[in-house]
Structures are given as C-alpha cells and as structure tokens.
Symmetry: C2
Subunit: 201 residues, 2 copies
C-alpha cells in the first residue's frame, strides 16, 4: 500500500530538493497537504515563476529576473575593481561581509573538462568582453579554495593578464575565531607558508 | 544587498516546508535555479495540482484525489474491523507493518479544545454514520500514545460504545529491538503495569 498517485508524485518531486530523502519528502508532503495548503499553493506559484523567469544578469551573470541586476544598475560601485566568484551565494557572502566596493562576475561553477564544463560554460567569453572595455584595473579571483577553484583561477589569470589589470586572490589562512585544533592540515600549512611579520602595535 | 526580488520570494516561500530555515531555503533556491530548473518546474506543477486536487476519501478521510481511496475501493478488506488513526502517515505505517486486514478512519489530528479543534473537525460525525451501518464489530483506537491522543481515544470510545462494537487499543510497552536503558520512564512504567505472564515455551 502507498499514498494516492498524486500524493506519491508530490513526494517524488520533492526529492529534487537538496538533502531531501524519502522520509523528509513524506513529512513535507504531509505538512503541505494537512496544514499548509495556502503556503504550498504560493510556493508552487513562486517556484514556477522563478524557474521560468530568473535568468543571468547581462553584465555580471548573477541570478536576476531583470536584464541587469541591482548591483550592476547601481552607480555607487567602483568600476575599476572586479571580483570573480563561482556562485551568486558567494557574491552575497562577500557583500554581507562588507568592505568590497567593486563589481562582480559570476561563473556559475568552475572549469571541469571531465564533465564537459569549458571556458564558455562559465562565461569567460563574456568576461573577456568586460575586460576589453578597459575600465577594470584589478581583478580579485575569489573562486573556491578547492583544486577546481584554483585551476579555474589560474586559467582566468592566464586569459586576462594581457589586459594589464592587476590580479589578486583572497588571502588563505586560519579562519578567524576558529581553534587551531580543528583547522584542517591543508589550511594550516597554507597559513604557515603565508605567515606575516607580527605587528606588535 | 540581497538576491533579486523573485529569488528572495522563492527563498521565503520555501520556508513553508517543515524544518526549512533561511540557510536551507537559500541552498534549496540556489540548487533549483542553478542546477535543477526542470525538477523545479515539475515540482511546482505537481505541488500546485496536489494542493488543489487532493482531498479526503469520502469514507475513511485519508488523503486522495479520488472520491474513494484505493483501500476503501478494495473488496479484500475486513469490513468488521476499523482502525482509527490520527494521520494518513500513521495509516501507512500500520499498513507497512502488515497484519491488519480491516478498514481505517483518519482523524487528521486530535481533539484540542484550546485550539478550537472539536469533534466535527476530526470527522467524528462521519465516524458516527459509519458505525450506524452496523458492519463494524471492533474498533481499534490507534491514536498517538500522547495526552491528546489518549483523550481523543477516550472521547471516541464514549461516543461509539453504544453501537456495541468491541473497542481496543494498541498495546503499550517497550519497543522491540530497543535497549531498556534508552526507553523513557513513562513507557517503561506502562510496560511494567501491563506486564504479561512469561510464556516459557
Ligand atoms: Zn549584474
Ligand atoms: Zn478511504
């Protein structure tokens, strides 16, 4: 025995969400049908609209339903600074950390030749066009500190260095507020090799 | 800074799902928009249809998009046995455990006067109609072993006892395969007061 076909379809479809297995899908379906029909109706409507209408910003490629995202439309950002990130979530994290006043470019992933993800798939032709405008003086390569992120940063560096912009990378090191004991070895050895003079003031 | 209005709306709407806070909602929205547009489209479509079309079985009140659920349509069940449960999920759990061959009646909750949930809200008028048919010889009150579940079982027992059907309750005790050490005190004392002669065969 099982639930009715439509309820089973709902549980099945919910599993497209990350981290949702059969048990969680059942709990979600029951919650929607037993207690949250209105919320479910609204979620269905917003989800339909979002997957249909949300695209990439024509300039920075972040997710937006407008031709240009809010940040690209803003006149209050520094056009000479460009930060390259793998995802819109990374862009938001940097914005929330504060301090960066430049523009962004979102790759939506990283190079992965084995999976068939090449330069055009992460928008590097578009990045090239952006560089050709000649406004950018520094590019911060803020891809993930993973093997793939590093490789992608190196590829981009090679591609755009002829435009004469400075290239920089986020500093590596032990995360602030963390305990050394729990920092992984790779990070720790990076933090050692990148150690700085101690400022006693 | 935040995501675009439509992306923010999606993250907001996802929080209707149980156990989904702001961080999980963001991860889900990003997953759908970055990697699972088709799955998101299908989920939106199925969810819209389900919250619109799934109703209660006219006989047992479980969730179904048909007038009668599959189990009520089946001729291979024992009409003299009725199991009363709080939710469709409880019904499925009992079916999956196997052994019960009767029919069900789903309350969709329990009595809760303080929240304004009275007898009609859990379908007791409909249960009365079912009892009046005179086919049911035993009613198994399988509400949850909670204060509210117990109170609801007692209320139902009082209501239907005049129909002359036997009333029974699921046995309480220590869960099979569990370790006594981890069984809560209430369950343990119930298991003691309900202890049975040891069958040495
Ligand atoms: Zn943009
Ligand atoms: Zn039914």
């Amino acid at each position: 025995m099982s639930f009715s076909p439509l309820v089973e379809q709902l549980m099945d479809a919910l599993r497209v969400l990350p981290g949702v297995g059969p048990k969680t899908a059942q709990r979600m379906a029951m919650h929607l049908l037993e207690r949250q029909r209105e919320g479910g109706q609204r979620l269905a409507e917003v989800m339909r609209e979002a997957v249909e209408r949300v695209g990439y910003c024509q300039r920075c490629r972040t997710l937006t339903e407008e031709p240009l995202c809010g940040l690209c439309q803003s006149a209050r950002r520094d056009d000479s600074l460009l930060c390259v990130v793998e995802s819109p979530a990374d862009m938001l994290a940097i914005e929330e950390a504060g301090g960066f006043q430049g523009r962004y470019f979102v790759l939506h992933g990283h190079l992965s030749p084995l999976d068939g993800v090449g330069p055009e798939d992460i928008g590097l032709d578009q990045l090239e066009t952006l560089m050709e405008e000649g406004l950018i003086e520094e590019v911060v390569l803020a891809t993930n500190p993973t093997v793939e992120g590093e490789a992608t940063a190196h590829y981009i560096a090679t591609q755009i260095q002829r435009h004469g912009a400075r290239l920089s990378r986020l500093a590596y090191g032990v995360p602030m507020g963390g305990e050394l004991e729990y920092v992984d070895g790779g990070t720790l050895s990076r933090a050692f090799s990148g150690r700085l003079p101690f400022d006693s003031e």
